[in-house]
Symmetry: C2
Subunit: 401 residues, 2 copies
């Protein structure tokens, strides 16, 4: 077996042997490398744990360290006989999938920010070029029990992000996850579905067609556990750290007060990734988690794709940028009236659009001198805000500059 | 005329003579007192401005200062002949109203935070004891063009604040203002309506009955301009500073991107009063201003009366406090599962509620040793999370402690 093949097999084995996020396993693989660490575990299973070898690479172990290692070895021993990377890789082959390990040029380096909690490998169905894809990716997460409002917002956000070439990262659940994938796929964009179980299992089954559509439009399904693995509750919780690490930023669309999406948001915050929350009606419990994130300062308020891009530090272009420019023009137009000096504003306030007002009456209404009113109304006429009619003046609306 | 009566008449005159927020007038009254300042203006109207007297109290004036003063004197001269405090006070008497001036024990000292922009006096219809009332007051403001969602939230917030004995401060407009007054009045609470025109004018007229109801339930209408004054646009903008100063905190329920409510929020922020914004659907333009305040960090996200009280630094009691305690109990209950150690959680995840699982199968499912599974399931049984059935174990729901 070549060194590379051995490394791939060892990491595939680790991903089957231990539960996601097992810190002892992460440390051991970090110290010895995946291949030697696995040999060490096999030897430990037969002859007892070689703690001397660990002390060679790590320095002296405390009694607590020793106990943790021995407990871990006993825990792993239960599963060791069942691990068969060849079988798992064959299952992946049948899905035309790819196993990515660190060092592969396609490996999503964003996941390395998880440190010893990084996955040993990722099992991918669909497009395996993840490193580049994830340099422009945003996680969009939220409640399974979403409202139609939340699903609409998730769809629109993902649509807007996809229009700018961003990849949307989410889970595979009903509600916000599904709406986000659907929004991006409908726009022809890429999405990444991070699953708690194996990539051969659509969970829930009702989303199977959506997941196929994700793969068909150049996206991918990703899992840190081998094909055939069940999506357990603790795997769902661990899965959230991968979603948070895969996105440059995480946006929560709807989330109950306590929910998986909240855990993803907190994972993102711990990774120093920006977190956004989409507000909703305060009468909707589905938005309570978002409002909590805003109140606690964990998240920034985001209301559209442009604000999400800003959050993620991605400069806009294309459709969204044009819409933004139009909105900025509205804003400028609205500011023009405020840009008038206070005297002119006061005089303009006192003018009617229909009934002409004479100068001395205008001065009294506006509470200014007749000279001030004369000067102000002259300036207003020049800028198109006022016009003469008979002996008096009326208000007008100036043309756009 | 006694000194007090002279002071009251002078301040009533100032409130008719100059537009709200006139900084030159505020400075002049601050330097000379209301009575002497008015005598000075009358003399200036007849003989020219006595700048030497001003320099006696203020020190040397710059050329710019002189020009500002002379322009102001000319501006005031237009209105001076029409000022008649006796007539205005009689009009107030007919409304059974009260003129409050600084120094009156009922004067709302909260307004003094406006400095030279503080009103000279306030014309009050209804309950004139404002000092004490405003020590526990919150401004609730928002859009005239409110949605039914916004009106519902404003009503409920005001209801909750009134239930805790807080006074609600707002304008007299349709939409959020009216809904807030209605919510407080329905609960039997006090509200303060701050008007841009005179307190004899319900503006808009459709709210006249509501304003009567405010007065009937112990609240008040307040204006810094005399009865009969028109509510002009610039008076509306200046009125917003009074609302912001009258509340310990300001809450914006719904506001367009640019609106009077936004100006009130910024006035409150400049006064270092806390600002809250109620989120809403991002698809609703009526909430765009609230979301902007949240994004820009001007406002804190608030979703109910308890959070508004917290914002205003008012400790809860009564009905709302009971509701909060109940919600906290829910939260504690939900946290109990998370408080289990990770091993117990993992074993609990692997247990079914219906189908008993034997120990070795449980260990494999949970990815733990048989010894760990045995220990964990024993602890879970003690705490009521698991129970024996036949040769295996099932998950259970523990009683509340």
């Amino acid at each position: 077996m070549s060194r590379d093949v051995a490394e791939v097999h060892a990491r595939a084995t680790w991903s089957a042997l231990v539960e996601p996020g097992d810190a002892v396993a992460g440390t051991l693989v970090g110290l010895l490398g995946a291949v030697e660490a696995l040999d060490w575990v096999r030897a430990a299973d037969r002859h007892g744990a070689d703690l001397v070898r660990l002390e060679e690479v790590r320095g002296p172990l405390t009694d607590a360290d020793r106990r943790r290692v021995l407990k871990a070895v006993a825990r792993w021993a239960v599963r060791l006989p069942d691990c068969d990377p060849g079988r798992d890789l064959e299952a992946l082959d049948r899905l035309r999938g790819t196993l990515l390990v660190p060092g592969d040029p396609r490996w999503p380096t964003a996941l390395d920010d998880l440190g010893t909690g990084a996955p040993f490998c990722v099992w991918v169905r669909g497009e395996p070029e993840l490193r580049e894809t994830l340099t422009l990716a945003v996680a969009v997460v939220g409640s399974r029990a979403a409202t139609s409002y939340g699903e609409r917002v998730a769809f629109d956000l993902a649509d807007g992000l996809a229009a700018e070439g961003l990849c949307v990262v989410s889970g595979g659940a009903y509600g916000i996850d599904a709406a986000a994938h659907r929004g991006a796929v409908t726009r022809g964009g890429r999405t990444l579905v991070v699953l708690a179980g194996g990539v051969d299992r659509a969970y829930p089954a009702g989303n199977a067609r959506l997941l196929d559509a994700v793969v068909a439009s150049g996206g991918a399904l990703l899992s840190e556990v081998p094909p055939g693995s069940l999506p357990t509750r603790s795997r769902f919780l661990q899965r959230n750290r991968l979603i948070a690490a895969a996105g440059r930023a995480t946006v929560v669309v709807e989330a109950a007060w306590r929910s998986g999406a909240m855990s993803t948001a907190h994972h993102a915050a711990r990774l120093l990734r920006p977190v956004g929350a989409v507000p909703g009606p305060v009468t909707s419990m589905a938005s309570a988690g978002c409002h909590r994130l805003l109140r606690e300062g964990v998240a920034v308020c985001v209301t559209d794709a442009a604000e999400v891009r800003e959050l993620a530090g991605v400069i806009g272009s294309g459709v969204a940028a044009v819409a933004e420019a139009a909105s900025a023009a509205d804003e400028r137009a609205a500011r023009r009236r405020d840009a008038l000096d206070p005297l002119s504003q006061r005089v303009l306030d006192a003018l009617s659009r229909r009934v002409p007002t004479e100068l001395d009456r205008l001065a009294s209404l506006a509470g200014v001198t007749v000279a001030e009113a004369r000067g102000a109304v002259g300036l207003l006429e020049l800028e198109g805000w006022a016009g003469r009619r008979g002996d008096g003046w009326v208000a007008a609306r100036p043309d756009e500059p």
